[in-house]
């Protein structure tokens, strides 16, 4: 059995769908040269059979809306002095800004720099979102890596 120490201060993202831990870590764009990160994949879960877990030391703030889109059943535990200070169950966000990228080439966001990418939830079960500008519908269930805006892209 793989054993990873508990973290003193930071965040533990638990109950990640097995196999999605890497995508979540990639999206969160954690600076692995600075912060200690543990990624556990396919761990046994009494609730889901298998799960991934991500532990990040010394980080106190992450994008919960993005997590809600990628894997809404995760739990985010905020740790302080080895104790869970707060446990947050993620929900699928109703409205997201600059997290999903519209892939409609006819949408104004493909040409207008500075126009925020805004999407509205229209179907919670299928995690379907509608673009604010062109009404194109994107489903975030399943393969979505082209639609998620990586924070580093946006910060350029």
């Amino acid at each position: 059995m793989v054993v990873i120490d508990s973290i003193k201060t930071g965040i533990v993202i638990d109950h990640i769908t097995a196999g999605l831990g890497m995508k979540i870590l990639e999206y969160l764009d954690i600076d692995t040269t600075k912060d200690t990160v543990a990624l556990i994949m396919h761990a046994v879960s009494s609730k889901y059979g298998r799960k991934d877990v991500v532990k990040i030391e010394n980080v106190s703030d992450i994008d919960l809306a993005a997590l809600g889109i990628i894997d809404p059943k995760v739990t985010v535990n905020y740790i302080e002095d080895h104790i869970i200070r707060e446990k947050v169950n993620i929900t699928v966000p109703e409205r997201v800004v600059n997290i999903i990228k519209c892939n409609n080439p006819r949408c104004v966001t493909s040409v207008e720099q500075g126009a925020p990418q805004i999407f509205h939830l229209i179907d919670r079960e299928n995690r379907e979102y509608r673009c604010e500008y062109c009404d194109e519908i994107i489903s975030m269930k399943g393969g979505y890596s082209n639609e998620i805006i990586h924070k580093q892209w946006f910060d350029r």
């Binding site: 006819r106 104004v108 207008e112 126009a115 509608r130 673009c131 500008y133 062109c134 009404d135």
Partner: protein, 307 residues
Amino acid sequence: MLRGRSFLEPMDFSTEELEELFLLADQIIENPEHYTKACEGKLLATLFYEPSTRTRFSFEAAMLRLGGQVIGFSEPSSSSVAKGESISDTIRTVACYADMAVMRHPKEGAPKVAAASTTMPVVNAGDGGHQHPTQTLTDLLTIRKEKGGFDNLVVGLCGDLKFGRTVHSLIKALSRYQNVSFIMISPEELKIPEYVRKEILCRNKIPFEEVENMQEALPKLDVLYMTRVQRERFFNEEDYVRLKDRYILDGAKMKLAKQDMMVLHPLPRVNEIATEVDSDPRALYFKQAKYGMYIRMALIMGLLGIE
């Protein structure tokens, strides 16, 4: 109250607000001389990034007939847009000079970006293959004048329903009235977009059929809305050539239709309505174009807050 608001899609106004516009348009049609100074001292900016005859002329004619004035461009190469200026910067500049703006743009959602960048009213005169709400006002006014209202209609939409922005806007607008049903006649490749099917028709439980056979649908219709297959929306020429002549309305087909069926078309037409149909009293597309000017006059007065 419509003063100061933008008009980007039909749902921006309630059915009561639309009715106010139709009543004002009726008054303008009845007594146009009464309105020749209504917008004196006001300036309308027309920002047409795509070609237009009817929409641009009807807005400009509307404003001039209200005693107002017009500035603008009819193609982007004649403005700083050619230098790469953003929509947001353009509208913020225009807002320094004009009281309201009308925008047509090839990219979907462009007028929404403009409206978010200014407090001046912005009207969507067509954005890509997305929406064309003032054409919808024109279509609704025409239907209202000929049928007395919008309830209990079977509306046929024929041709390019995928990129046909006038179709999307009209379906959205009519979905709010009682007992309206749709028969959508198109090739498989040009069916209505998913968001129209899902968000408007299915969500509001509106009866609709999607068919490919025009002749079978014609006898059922109260309104037939014809559309052109739009070459400018296709990314490749071969697809356009394959689909463009699929549906042509001619005299023989008109014999299958009800005696009081209305034929509408947002124009321009290519060959999808044969010229022999023009003399049929049910052909209302040129009258429709004229109503477009009057409803735009009412819209301009409403958004500028002129009583």
